[in-house]
Symmetry: C2
Subunit: 158 residues, 2 copies
Amino acid sequence: MTDIRENEIRADAPVSSDASVAFIGIIRTPWPDRSLCPRQGRLDGPECRLVLQPQWCDALQGLEKFEMIDVLYWLDRSRRDLVTQSPKSDGRTVGTFALRSPVRPNPIGLSKVKLVGIDGGEVVVRGLDCIDGTPLIDIKPDICAFSPIAPPKQSAEF
Amino acid sequence: MTDIRENEIRADAPVSSDASVAFIGIIRTPWPDRSLCPRQGRLDGPECRLVLQPQWCDALQGLEKFEMIDVLYWLDRSRRDLVTQSPKSDGRTVGTFALRSPVRPNPIGLSKVKLVGIDGGEVVVRGLDCIDGTPLIDIKPDICAFSPIAPPKQSAEF
């Protein structure tokens, strides 16, 4: 994609390749294309499924204790070269890092969602807003819910 | 790294390479190595700086309106092959996705931090917990603060 709206700015160098992302599964949602996705997920929205690759299923152990989880995914249809964007196509631009637009140098989507349940290697959640088939890249327990479980750090253990 | 603690499980296939991450800057913190990092960042912790590469500086336009931002970074010293982990080295394991450990198939760190200010191409924040020099991969405005600004979606514009 090389088209650009009024006053938008493209990066003056190609987006570099400094590290590799591994897809760990796929996200199943009710929305087959972007025009049908909600702008933001709602915690009372429809159930969606994070379908893990078999080798990562055991990595879900213990996740069931959390009410909220952070889901990271790769917005594989997004262009990556816009520095400023005009979301309303009216010539007024905003910096990419002041938007949660999928268009960004690293098209990583992030949603804090409600954990409904774990069904084998699939995690059922509410609160996503991405296209059906979006590649999954990480799941993290919500940091607030996590705080009471993790004691103050005694020493470096990792 | 191939060493493993009691009862930990390694992935049974290498971590794949499905997409590329571009570093967009570097994070300056007071902690030169992992043993000195806090377990979790605190919003009253020391100031840290997100130092953007020159081509991405204009992407900060409008970010100053937000009090809280999400910062994503690449934990480039972390192993990526553990399915379950024993954080306390006591033989009890937890799934990687039930931990916020830096050890995960995609070693992406995520912190919600307080925006102190923007100084040219540098963003001053409080609340990080990562090593000095950690590669920066994304900045997003906090979704809660963002909600009142974004009107309900009328149509697909991206």
